[in-house]
């Protein structure tokens, strides 16, 4: 199928595909995204398509709707979560952003790439996809918003991890470190000899035999009454 043939077909079936998608999905926005998605898939395989494409396009739409419904209960593989080190410099941050873009629905992903990486204008993208410029802008805006939110969440998680690690290290250092200090009437002493002498003096005073004191105490109590 030629590019011109595809463009003609795309204009004709787009609304039909939205209608098919709406039967599965409650949101009109989601249905439009799915229809966009289907158009992209068809565009990428246009050389292998034969006219008419409406039946095939409807089947692809149904399958994508089912995929979309499955995605509503997503799971996250812990192994794929980024390490804090992954965000350590600009190159890695770009790589991280590309990873986030890869997680977008294919319509959003493709339009974002067409616009930002291949430098295509929204008008050109709309022509290629058989969509309107407004719809492309809307999808682009949604894609940017999702990328922004996911990156913020990733960076926040990374910052939190760094914060916790720093606190842990500091805590462990504090816990394991020795301390030897005495404040004698406001003057600080840190030499071990002075501090330990003071400590031993205080300890000894506390643990000394109190028999003599007790006798004195009892005598005091007796004569003070």
């Amino acid at each position: 199928m030629t590019t011109e043939e595809f463009q003609q077909q795309a204009e004709g079936i787009r609304l039909q595909l939205i209608s098919v998608a709406q039967k599965y999905l409650s949101s009109t926005d989601e249905a439009e995204d799915i229809a966009q998605d289907v158009m992209i898939k068809l565009w990428l395989m246009r050389n292998r398509l034969t006219l008419p494409i409406v039946g095939f396009a409807s089947m692809v739409t149904r399958n994508l709707c089912i995929d979309c419904l499955r995605r509503k209960h997503p799971t996250i593989d812990i192994a794929t979560l980024p390490d804090e080190e992954d965000l350590s410099d600009d190159g890695e941050q770009i790589e991280q952003m590309l990873k986030v873009i890869d997680t977008l629905p294919s319509a959003q992903r493709t339009i974002l790439r067409m616009h930002h990486l291949q430098g295509m204008k929204t008008k050109e993208i709309a022509m290629v996809l058989g969509s309107t410029e407004v719809a492309v802008r809307k999808t682009l805006s949604r894609a940017r918003s999702v990328v922004r939110k996911r990156l913020i969440a990733l960076f926040a998680a990374a910052s939190l991890l760094i914060g916790i690690s720093t606190m842990t290290i500091r805590y462990l250092n504090v816990e394991s470190s020795d301390e030897c200090v005495a404040y004698i009437y406001g003057k600080k002493y840190t030499d071990q000899q002075t501090v330990l002498a003071e400590m031993k003096h205080t300890m000894g005073e506390m643990t000394e035999d109190n028999a003599q004191n007790e006798i004195e105490q009892q005598l005091n109590d007796l004569f003070s009454n």
């Binding site: 200090v181 005495a182 404040y183 009437y185 330990l196 205080t202 643990t207 005091n220």
Partner: protein, 142 residues
């Protein structure tokens, strides 16, 4: 989970939770009037201790004695089952008194709180370690 982790990470002074804690924090007697020692770590191993904190001072008036005495009294009541030894009066009429409390264990550490007053001279000690009893400490100091 994060909250639990944070609460674990916040360094808490070992003697916190005791009523006498403000004395160690310098909130009762100004630092210029006290002799305070803080020793932690390996140098205490010969005494079977891991932490030693003491504060001693000469009271300027009866209110200072009363305030410290009352705080010690509260800790004594809180851990009344753990009184190790005492020559102590709740009425504060005596000029000399001592009180030694063995506090509930924290982890593997035994904890002790000691209070001594000789007229205006007041000494309070907080200790932590594997030390089993103050009798052992007395032997170790000799």
């Amino acid at each position: 989970m994060m909250i639990a982790l944070f609460s674990m990470l916040i360094t808490v002074e070992a003697q916190s939770g005791l009523n006498i804690e403000p004395l160690f924090a310098g909130k009762i007697i100004p630092q210029q009037r006290i002799v305070e020692t803080r020793v932690k770590g390996k140098m205490l191993s010969k005494y079977q201790l891991s932490l030693f904190r003491s504060v001693r001072f000469k009271a300027n008036n009866k209110q200072e004695i009363t305030r410290v005495h009352d705080l010690i009294e509260l800790d004594k009541k809180k851990y009344s089952d753990n009184t190790y030894s005492e020559n102590y009066s709740s009425t504060k009429s005596r000029s000399k008194e001592t009180l030694m409390l063995q506090l509930p264990k924290e982890g593997n550490h035994n904890r002790f709180l000691c209070y001594k007053r000789n007229n205006e001279e007041v000494t309070v000690i907080y200790m932590e370690g594997t030390l089993n009893s103050l009798d052992t400490l007395r032997e170790l100091i000799k």
